[in-house]
């Protein structure tokens, strides 16, 4: 089976994400009046080859496959799909799939672009376990933030329909907006816990380096602290100042878009993460 590589398996998964995207467009146009089981099954089917691709590469490398942008993208996508498959066990939240599949397909196509799958980086003097844990926790955090953003987008869609397009709102099978807001909040809180733990593990690892202060201005570290503060601000805004509804949903969505658009650039610019 030499002809079957982890990239082939991932390509198959991306093709299934593409099919899910096409079905999602149908669900959107249909006003979410149909059951979303087919989309769930498509994402479940994609999760198989996606997981297999990561396992294959992980066994080949002998560590968690999070050493370059290609692998990091795969891991974020995997955590988004895994989280969705769990949440989708609740039938009414299954429509989340229609909101995540466009992002999954776009990320999948991005990951397959040439130049991202570089040879594994050599982490400067740090143990494989701790660095794998650091990367995995952070990528799980971004996956949770991605799901939170999808729930926020669902909220914004249904909230707008309830105000403007009332027939469409009542005809759709989307969950109540209060439940969507709660889902977005919980996923955000879960993601923040992963983010804090991931950065904590990274900080401890960094402290063990010979000259940790040399990396103080590393773009990725500055960016990570900025992202942590951004999400901390969102959480304080939500719980301390009781901000909810549309503005909070826009905040969640905007924050994830910021992460999505800047993650790759800061990674490339960071001597610590891209030696």
């Amino acid at each position: 089976m030499d002809w079957l590589t982890d990239r082939h398996l991932f390509l198959l998964a991306v093709a299934l994400y593409g099919l899910s995207l096409v079905y999602s467009v149908f669900l959107w146009r249909n006003g979410f009046r149909r059951d979303n089981r087919i989309n769930y099954l498509l994402l479940l089917a994609a999760f198989g080859p996606h997981s297999a691709a990561m396992l294959l590469r992980g066994f080949h490398l002998g560590r968690c496959p999070v050493t370059n942008l290609y692998e990091a993208t795969l891991f974020i996508m995997w955590s988004i799909v895994g989280g969705y498959l769990g949440i989708g066990l609740w039938a009414r939240l299954r429509f989340l799939g229609a909101f995540v599949s466009p992002a999954l397909f776009a990320l999948g196509v991005f990951a397959l672009m040439p130049g991202l799958d570089t040879p594994p980086s050599v982490w400067p003097g740090l143990g494989t376990f701790w660095m794998s844990l650091h990367a995995a926790l952070l990528l799980l955090a971004y996956g949770a933030f991605g799901l939170s953003a999808a729930a926020a987008l669902m909220f914004l869609t249904q909230e707008r329909n309830l105000k403007v397009n009332k027939l469409r709102a009542i005809g759709s099978l989307l969950p109540p907006i209060q439940r969507l807001a709660a889902a977005a909040e919980r996923l955000l809180a879960g993601g923040f816990v992963f983010l804090t733990l991931g950065l904590g593990v990274g900080g401890l690892a960094l402290a063990r380096l010979e000259h940790p202060q040399a990396y103080r201005g590393d773009p990725k570290i500055v960016w990570s602290v900025g992202v942590w503060l951004l999400y901390l601000g969102l959480i304080i805004w939500r719980w301390r100042f009781a901000q909810g509804g549309r503005r909070f949903a826009l905040g969640v969505l905007g924050s994830f878009l910021f992460v999505l658009l800047t993650f790759w650039g800061t990674n490339v610019l960071s001597p610590l993460h891209n030696p």
Binding site: K163, K166, L167, I170, P176, Q243, G244, G245, R246
Partner: protein, 352 residues
């Protein structure tokens, strides 16, 4: 032994006539006893609701003679021999079986696709069965009717959505709130439609209810009836900090609630959604409040448009349902080994 149906319904018979022919539940077993004793039917079920009175019978007699016997029984049972009574329909197979299925599915109801009639049909059948007035033929037909109703409900959209203003309001509330169980409702103006809407919300579990009305007696009466509390009409705005759903239906000639008055109250609600249902004409609530965050306003036209849309969707499903019913009725009759239904007759009395 063919199945026959004789009856009258809201389609062609006014309520003044229907009420004369209605059977009360306690009298049905005796009526069935008398019907079978007369030899008009071997098996029988009487369905008597506010919209229809029908006798379902199975008899080996020739259908037109048997139907004439059923008609005589129906007229006699209500002390009426008025031959001019119109709208009485008499059906033999296959139309009789199709009619039974249509009734079970709510296709023959005043509100298309409603489900209450299925419960009434089940009760009528159960009553007849418990007293030994049904046999193999009707048992099978009624059981099949209940199965067909379930099939239609799950496979088509004939029962989807709400077609009354009250139930549309409940459905909207369920689109906004995770649970209705811990929601508080404020009724402003104790009108008929607002009462029905509040009743629908309470029946779906709404926790608390407050009623404000210009006449405090009326507010107290409605509050007592629905298990809520009456509040002074002068103070109802203060309740907005607590409640989740407001149903407004007063005769005020101007807006009772506008954006300027509602906006300052919202911070105290800490982003809890507020559903406003304005049933009044002229409207009680300024449309501008819908632009406030976490506020969702619906007026009577919005609710009616949603109800009409559902009704339109239900009507579009009728042809599909009828096709399913024809197939299921045919299957039942062929299972019964007859083939005799092909020569069935439809006899109409009176104006039918």
């Amino acid at each position: 032994m063919p199945i026959l149906v004789l009856g009258l319904s809201h389609h062609a018979t006014p309520v003044a006539v229907r009420e004369r022919f209605a059977f009360d539940a306690a009298g049905v077993p005796a009526a069935l006893e008398s019907l079978r004793g007369s030899g008009a039917a071997d098996e029988a079920v009487i369905l008597s609701t506010c919209n229809r009175v029908e006798i379902y019978a199975a008899t080996p007699r020739e259908p037109s003679r048997a139907l004439a016997g059923l008609r005589e029984f129906l007229l006699a049972s209500q002390d009426s021999s008025d031959a001019r009574i119109g709208g009485i329909y008499a059906l033999s197979e296959p139309q009789s079986v199709q009619h039974l299925f249509r009734v079970a599915c709510g296709l023959d109801s005043m509100v298309l696709g409603e489900t209450e009639v299925l419960g009434q049909l089940k009760q009528a059948y159960e009553l007849a069965r418990q007293h030994g007035h049904t046999g193999a033929r009707l048992n099978r037909a009624f059981q099949r009717a209940f199965n067909v109703a379930k099939h239609i409900r799950t496979q088509t959209n004939i029962q989807r959505g709400s077609v009354s203003v009250g139930s549309v309001a409940v459905e909207l509330a369920e689109k906004v709130f995770s649970r209705l169980g811990d929601r508080e409702v404020l009724v402003v103006g104790a009108g008929d439609t607002s009462e029905k809407t509040a009743r629908a919300l309470v029946s779906r579990g709404a926790r608390g209810l407050a009623v404000a009305n210009r006449s405090s007696d009326k507010a107290r009466a409605l509050a007592a009836e629905l298990g809520g509390r009456a509040v002074s009409f002068a103070d109802w705005l203060e309740e907005l900090a607590r409640v989740d759903i407001v149903i407004s239906s007063t005769a005020a000639p101007h807006y009772l609630l506008d954006r300027a008055r509602l906006a300052p109250l919202l911070p105290g609600r800490r982003n809890r959604p507020l559903l406003l249902i304005d049933l009044a004409v002229p409207r009680d609530i300024e449309p501008e409040v819908n632009f406030l965050e976490n506020v969702y306003l619906y007026n009577i036209d919005d609710l009616q448009a949603i109800a009409d849309d559902y009704l339109k969707q239900r009507r579009q499903e009728v042809a599909r349902c009828e096709q399913i019913i024809r197939e299921k009725a045919l299957a039942l009759l062929e299972d019964a080994g007859g083939g005799m239904w092909r020569g069935g007759v439809r006899v109409a009395f009176g104006h039918e």
